[in-house]
């Protein structure tokens, strides 16, 4: 597997957690990019700012007959945290910015460590410093 050298990709995410398969695919792409040696920027817009919301909590699943521990249901914040840790382990950068106005209107300011608040100006900076970009839109 050839590794990207000093290359950066930017992804723009829009979907809130638990609403669409795009969230999982987007996070799969971030992970794949890190493993291939890219630095990754994520600009979370609209509902995607809730992906790293620190107050998400796992739950039991009576339909499956599982308590919370047995269900082991990952919150999206756990997946984001795992990707941030993977980036660190691989010596790569994952810069996750949540669009601030989207955060405010959704009341999700408490985001996990390793993410930060920003604005569209940050997205434009990302674009200027990236080798390529991908917008994953919501519908």
């Amino acid at each position: 597997m050839s590794l990207a050298q000093n290359k950066t990709l930017t992804f723009v995410l829009n979907d809130p957690p638990y609403e669409n398969a795009r969230t999982t695919t987007a996070l799969r792409l971030v992970g794949a990019a890190l493993r291939k040696g890219y630095d990754v920027n994520v600009f979370a817009y609209e509902g995607a700012v809730a992906l790293p919301f620190a107050k998400q909590a796992p739950h039991a699943n009576a339909v499956h007959g599982n308590d919370a521990a047995a269900e082991d249901h990952p919150n999206t914040k756990d997946w984001v945290a795992a990707l941030l840790a993977e980036a660190g382990r691989l010596g790569r950068k994952l810069d996750w910015i949540n669009c601030g106005l989207c955060v405010d209107e959704r009341g999700v300011a408490e985001a996990i460590a390793g993410t930060r608040r920003g604005s569209p100006a940050d997205l434009w900076q990302f674009v200027g410093k990236s080798d390529n970009t991908l917008v994953i839109p919501t519908k």
């Binding site: 795009r22 695919t25 794949a32 890219y38 390529n132 991908l134």
Partner: protein
């Protein structure tokens, strides 16, 4: 010549918009560009061989490479042996490779 990666995530039976996206892929290939259509999520639901298999044969004739995310296929119980002619299963990593290669990449 430019290179394009078009990612179709939507069920092609759900609306005309997906097929308009396929037509865009064909039009870009017709303009002498290198074009890959990558089916992912419910976008792979058209990849099981059936009456609509001609969509992908036509794309192939137009010069578009058609790939389908192997995880999405497996998630939906679509075996490799049941793929429409002209559709190849692929890992998601190919999207990263194409982005790194500078392909203009559109997600639908």
């Amino acid at each position: 010549m430019s290179k394009y990666l078009l990612i179709e995530s939507r069920d092609p039976f759900e609306s005309q918009d997906s097929r308009a996206f396929y037509e865009l892929a064909a039009a870009l290939a017709g303009d002498a560009n290198q074009v890959t259509l990558f089916l992912v999520q419910n976008g792979v639901l058209g990849a099981r061989a059936g009456e609509h298999a001609r969509w992908y044969a036509e794309l192939g004739k137009a010069g578009v490479e058609v790939l389908a995310d192997d995880f999405s296929l497996r998630e939906r119980g679509i075996q490799a042996s049941r793929l429409a002619p002209g559709v190849k299963a692929s890992g998601l990593d190919v999207v990263i490779d194409h982005l790194g290669d500078g392909r203009k990449t559109l997600w639908h």
